[in-house]
Every structure is written in structure tokens, then in C-alpha cells.
Symmetry: C4
Subunit: 267 residues, 4 copies
């Protein structure tokens, strides 16, 4: 039962104040929407805090000002992402202005999903420890409680080996990214065999919420199966209704998460 | 499921001193019993600390001065609840003076249990990760050790779908709340299928104790079942006797919990 | 298996310095051996830190100056125990000078084991979450790795119901304590059905080490069983040899634990 | 999978600056490569942070200046290791200049692997809780995701009892160490029955990465098996390709780990 020592050090430098400052300057963040960047930073850190991501994984957002482009951190552990690390990528996943910074190999997950799914405004990729067992199993991931209701419509598993043979398992080009996006289809979550998952949403908050509760739901389902008797899942109809509620309560948990990661931002 | 130990740096503002201050002023807390409010705050935070609740869940108390009313936080993550957030609700779950604050959708869990069970002075609602697997399983939750002795009399499972068909799973009105209260009957705990649980007690401390040990007991029972051989549970008679002891030792663990959450209160 | 980052805040008040001071004064600690008291305090706190005890459980030591007596905290959560809380008890578990302090109901676990086992210098009682499943199962707890080697000689389970019928599960008198001590026999650990365990040792350090590694070993054995194929345990001969090594390396882990709990002592 | 919020209190003494200072002085670290020593310290602490090691376990590196020798801490819990604790050992595991410091009983694990495997520049020994169940099971540890790809070529289990009968389970001499090194063969990881594992790598970073992800992969495989249906593992070809990527991303997670353990170093 892991616990954490969260410390508040004297007064916190109000870190968010820095974002508008950057936006107004000639910094690389010029023109980027500060709220979206803030959400990418908070989402990255909170997923690290919960162990949904470790040193790997990433959170991106479609650029509201230029919807064919998206925003994502340079190559960096999610727990360390700051507003200054966010970069702009074009529709094929090329950095608009790399300025020598290293970038994520798997940015094609994001690029190809944004291309295929105009409704998607944010994408999260994780190696979620709850999810990986389901990615390699014949046991389907199903909605076990209302916070995982978005899973009730079915969770596809994408196996990179099906179309690409023996690879290094990574989504390292547009063709592989496109295959993944097709497997995702119109769903909120796709599992990646032997690798992790990708979750999407109409906001960064919802994509992060889904990444978190996909992991939680997977662990709870594993525990329910281990009890050895029949398990009752949410029906698709219950899932659709309960997921609508998730949208109305997201700010309650997001405000908690924001407070939770602020100490690390104030370092 | 992470919890956190927050540390107090430098001197702590003695937060509890603020409660009488509020009670004496014209603040919204005027007339509210400071001890009960303190227990709601501590209970909310300690359950968050242990991961029994995450961003959702709530702790309430019957108003000792007006037993048809009850006290509960405005809509807020349990880890963030302070004395100032506590509001008064009438017997149907309507806020007495909302003053524009948002309130919990599921306040009807509390309202209807207080109506049905005059002995109940406090109610806790959680999405406890230990409990959810049992809420969707045919494997009954049973008392596996003396701290979970209150489970030995049987733990009903309430399935919202039985009377209400395909819903969003929430206790969003008095009728649904009444159905839940009826399923609870004279027991200390009721599981809610695909959702969580509600625990009750003659004090906030005991309702929180039961929410915590229902979660612990559920995890221990899962582990015992996984060993693959016959499991011996407490008999109802052992349960009744052992639960009586829980009432005599509650302050020992409550004092620990109070110290554990005070640093986060001093933030 | 949680570990923690312990922080040293500014300069620590050298807490141990207080112990000799007490011993020299007319305080209740007068005449008590400061090293043994320090070990009880550290052991109580480190077991709380690891979740082997929660609000309940206790660590005691035989009084080196008066071997028919023993030393144990007043009734208090283990995480909060300080040197000032240690009291002296006679051979039947009566406090020598209670001075109005409340004492543990289950002190008879300690009293009767010290009476039966002259080799035992320390006793730990826990509701260890790894152990409880084995206490109610037909699956025996066995030594799965060298740090749990002391389990290789067999781990008896004591069922209070066998001789005492339906009770509140507690060791609340000398007769019940004696029954438990007899079940322990010449072993280092006894499981208590639906309750927890008692571990003993020739020093406080070794009794705490055994309480910790009984919990760890139980969890590892559960995981090994869950793999579904045959499990190889340490033989009794391997266990005897490997346990001898535990005595030679105890200080390495004890020094770590001491540093781990010092910040909480300095609060 | 615990993660942690590491905090820097006030200004940190730049600890790494001390290493060159030592190297230039007549200190025992004179002539030792500061980068390698830093990596041993960080690796030891991060593995402790994640619970891959507890009070026991060790990280070593081949001495780049004298490849038949290796560098390892004096006998100390990994969480407490500092640059000053690193000692030099010859090819048989004898300390070059012990200066009265106590040394690890099991240094022969390291000595004999360096002798047998010229490609190996670092060795980690753990009692990893994810791994121990596989060390005593007939269920093979296999690569379940790309970060555990180095396991896809097979993971040997070394049983000390096969050649040495009933022992204390320890690698306490060169002959036993040689047997273990032979079981390791040309693989990156060997499990030790009822004890733990040894992982090796061409750098300290990679050996630590492998110790960490061997533990993670083992836990994930256990969870996948518990789902009760067929599990798909990485093929050896996928494993070889995916492991090549691990070498290119190691710095991303290492930089995170370095920041994570710096507060404890600044104590």
C-alpha cells in the first residue's frame, strides 16, 4: 500500500503565472493556449504520481488555434514535464520548430489519431500496469464500475504483429500509427498488445481521467475475476448513461489532482 | 492506490481552534456542533489518505441539534474538505442554505438512510477498491478478522438495475435512495453493484472505521480465497462479540488518523 | 511493499539523548534499559511504516533487570509510541505502576509467552495483512526465501474457538494467553485465526525482523501459489542454516529502519 | 507500483561536486571514476525507493581503469549508500583496502560474473518481491511487454541446492559464485531459487534498468496469468528488437530517477 510524503515548502511560487508570461514573450510558447498547456503538465504529473506512467508515456492536446497540429512535451519523463517543454507538431508528427530538442519516438500515436478522429482533442499514451495484463490476454477489459463506464462499449486490442510482423513494438512511423488509429475506431480506449494503451477525449482532462480509470478499472476487474465466481459488468446502456455523468464531475477530481501536483511544480 | 503522508513544516496553525471561532461568528457554521464537523473533516481526509475514496465519496453526520437534518460537505473531493465546506441538508436532502455552492448528486444516499434508520448518526459513501469486486461478484463479503467483525451478520448487495432498469448507476433522487436504504435494512454496510458501498454507524468515527475496515477485510478475503483452500470466517456470534470491542478501541486508531491528517489541514 | 522517503527537517533534536535523561530522573522510565526502550519505539514505528501494524498491534521486551517482568507501551497506536509511553508489567501482565494510563487488553499474549519461553526476550503482536489470509486458510505458511527462513520449521495456527468457543477473538486473560503460548511451542511465530500473529525473538530487533518478514514471506507465497504450478519451499535444513545468517545481518536492515523512523520521532 | 514526490529542501548541497573532490584527494575514492560511482549510488537508492531492494541487495560496477577489479559499497542497506562507501575489490572478491570496513558476504556473485562475462560492466543483486515467486515456481518468467524485452531470450533459474546440497542459500564463496555465473550464461538475468536474482548490463544504468523491469515484468506476468486465459508473450525476435530500444531511452528514465533520489542524497 504505497503512500507518499507530500510536502509544502514555505510559499509556493505561483507557477501558473509563468504561462501567460511565456505566451506574451517571444518564447517558444508564444501563441500556445496556456490552459491547454497547464492541463498537459498537470495530467502528465498526476499520471506519474499514480504510477499510471513511469519514466515513459505522454499526454498531448490538439492545438485549438490550428486544429491540424498538436502540442506535446519534448522527450522527457512525464513527472518532469513543465510548460516550457511543450512543443508544436504538425499533422504528420513533425516538430514545427525542434530547436535541437529530442522528441518522442512514438509521436505517431498522437498524429494519426488526431488525423482520423476530428472529435478527439487530447491523447494519452501509457504503459499502465493495470492494463498491460489485459493487452496480452484473451480476457476482455470491461466496465466494472461507473467511473470506468466509458469502457462499456468495448475495448479493442491492437496487435502490432498482425500487420507488421516482428517489430520493436513501437509506433515509430505514420503507417503504424494509422493502423493503431484504425483499431481505436470510434472508441475512447485502445489496448496495445505487450505495450500499453492509448486513451482519447474531447479535452485533456477527460483523456487523463480515462487513462487513470482504465488502469483502476482493469485492476478491479482482475480482483473480481480472482474471486472465482460470475462477474456482472455494466451493460452498454448503463455505460453510456454513467459516462455522461463523468463529464459533469471531472472538475471535482481534476481540482484535487491539480493541488496534488502543485508542490512538485513549485520545486 | 496511493495515499499520502503530509508533513508539517515549521509551526502549524492550530486549525481546530478555528472551528469554535466559526461557531461563534455569523458564519454558515453558526450553530453547528464543532466536534461533529471536525470528525467529518478528519474522516473525509483519512479515507482519502488510505485510498478508500479518491476524488469521489462523502462523509455525513446527522445534525445532533436537529435530528431530521444532516451535515455534509459541498461537492468537493474528500481530501480537500474543511470545516467551512460543511453544509446543512433537510430530511429530503435539500440544502437549507446553498448560497450558490454546488452539492453532491448522491446526497439522497444519506437523506434516505437517516430517514429509515433513527439509530444511524453518520453515513459514509465510497467507491472502495477492495469492495467493488465484491459488489459485482457472487462471492459474498464475509468477516475474515475481528476488525471486520461488523460484517459477520451478512452484507447485502443492492443492484440499482433491479428496480430502476438501465440507469447512470447513481443515487440521484429520493426514490432510489429509499430503495438503497431498504436494502441496507438493519445492517452496518450495504454494497452497491458496480459502484461502491455505504457504511453507517452511531458516530462519525464508527462509520469511518467501518468504511476503512470493510475495504481492508475485502482485500484480505480476496487474498485468502486466492490461496485456493477452504477459508474459515468469523461466525455471527464471534462477529457480534468482536464488534463490541471495536467500539472500545476506536479512539486508539482515531487519534492516529487525526494526527495523520492534521498536516494536510494546516496547509 | 512500501518504502518511504524520510526527510530530516532542519536539525533533528537528538531524541535518543532524552532516554538516558529520563533514566537518570525520577521519571517512570527510571531504571529501564534505554537501548531496549529505543528498540521498542523504533520497532513499533517501523512496523507501522510498513503497514505490518495499523492502529493496533504491540511490541514488548522482557525486562533485562527483572526477567519475570516485561516492558510495553501504554495503549497507543504503534506509530505514536515514544519512550515515555513504555510501562512495566509483571509476570501476569499487571502494570507495576499504571498511574492512570490505559493499557492493552491483549497484554496476556506477552505475559504468557514470557512465562513459557525463557529464551524469548521480545514479543510482537500484529494484524499483518499478509498473514491474516493464512490464519484462516488450510494452506500452510512456509518459508519461500532465505529472509523468511525462520518459518521453515513449521508455523502453528492457534484457533481461539477450539478451547474457548465463540469469543470476541481477543487474548483478554491469562488462560487464553497460556493457550496461545502453548500453541506457539518452541517456534518463532504463531498465527492467530481471524486475528493476526505473534512473533518472538532473543532480541527486540529479531522479533521485529520476524514480524516484518513473516508478512513479506506470506505475500510472496501467495503470489507464488497464484502462478498455478508447483512451488519449492526451503527445506527445514536450509531454513535452519539460512536463519542463522539473519542474525548476522540484522543490524544492516535495523540501521536503515532506525533512520527511516527518526523523522517521525523528531516531529 | 509506487512513485514518489521527491522534494528538495532549501538549497541542496551539490553532492556530486564532492566526488571529483574525493577523486583528487588522498581519500579512498582516489582514482575511482566519479560517473560510475555516482551511478552506483543512484542505482542503489532508486531500487530501494521502488522496493526492488529492501535492507539487502547490492549494485556493483567493473572498474574501468582496472577491468579485473570491481567497485561496490561496503556492507550497507542500498538506501544509505553514498560515494564514500564505495570500495574496490579484486577479481576474487577480496577488498583491495578494507580499512576495517565490513563487506558483503555475497560479493562472489559479482566477482565470478565479471570473471566469466567480459562484456558485463555492472551487476545488480536483489531480493525483488516480483521475482521471488518465479524463482520457486515451474512457471517461467517471460517478456510480457517491451520494457521487459530483455527477458524474451529466456531466464535461467539457478538452484543452489542442485550442486551444493542444503546450504544457507547464500553465494558465500567463489565456487558457489562460479556456479551462479555459469547458470547465467550469456543472459542478462538469472533467478536464484528462494533468494532473488542477479541482473547484468554493459553499464550500471542498464543493469539497474533490468533489475527494475524484471521486477515490474514479473508482477505484470503474474497478473496476466491470474486472468485465467491464454497469455501472449513477446517472441524472441520481438524481444531482441525491443530491447535495442531500451538502450536508446534509458537516459529518459535515469534522469527521472536521479532527480527522485537527490533529496535523500542531500540529507
Amino acid at each position: 500500500m504505497p503512500s507518499r510524503i507530500a510536502l509544502v515548502l514555505l510559499s509556493l511560487t505561483p507557477w501558473l503565472a509563468a504561462v501567460p508570461a511565456h505566451a506574451q514573450s517571444q518564447s517558444p510558447l508564444a501563441g500556445m493556449p496556456p490552459e491547454v498547456i497547464e492541463d498537459i503538465v498537470i495530467g502528465s504529473r498526476v499520471l506519474a504520481d499514480f504510477g499510471v506512467v513511469d519514466g515513459f508515456g505522454h499526454v498531448s492536446a490538439r492545438d485549438p488555434a490550428n486544429p491540424s497540429h498538436f502540442l506535446m512535451s519534448r522527450s522527457l519523463a512525464p513527472a518532469l514535464v513543465t510548460a516550457d517543454d511543450i512543443m508544436e507538431f504538425d499533422q504528420d508528427g513533425n516538430p514545427v520548430d525542434a530547436r535541437g530538442r529530442s522528441i518522442f519516438l512514438e509521436r505517431f500515436i498522437h498524429a494519426e489519431i488526431y488525423k482520423t478522429r476530428p472529435d478527439v482533442m487530447a491523447v494519452v499514451h501509457t504503459h499502465s500496469p493495470g492494463v498491460i495484463p489485459f493487452s496480452v490476454s484473451k480476457t476482455p477489459l470491461r466496465a466494472i464500475f461507473h467511473n470506468g463506464a466509458f469502457l462499456a462499449g468495448g475495448v479493442p486490442i491492437w496487435d502490432i504483429g498482425k500487420n507488421f510482423g516482428a517489430t520493436d513494438m513501437l509506433v515509430r512511423n505514420n503507417e503504424i500509427g494509422k493502423s493503431l488509429a484504425q483499431a481505436l475506431g470510434d472508441k475512447p480506449v485502445v489496448l496495445m498488445r505487450g505495450h500499453g494503451d492509448a486513451t482519447v477525449g474531447p479535452t485533456v482532462k477527460m483523456a487523463v481521467f480515462r487513462a487513470y480509470y482504465t488502469d483502476v478499472n482493469a485492476r478491479l476487474e482482475s480482483q473480481a475475476i480472482a474471486l472465482g465466481t460470475e462477474v456482472t459488468y455494466l451493460t452498454p446502456e448503463e455505460g453510456a448513461k454513467a459516462d455522461a455523468v463523468n463529464f459533469t464531475v471531472i472538475d471535482r477530481i481534476w481540482n484535487l489532482w491539480k493541488q496534488q501536483v502543485q508542490p512538485s511544480l513549485a520545486k
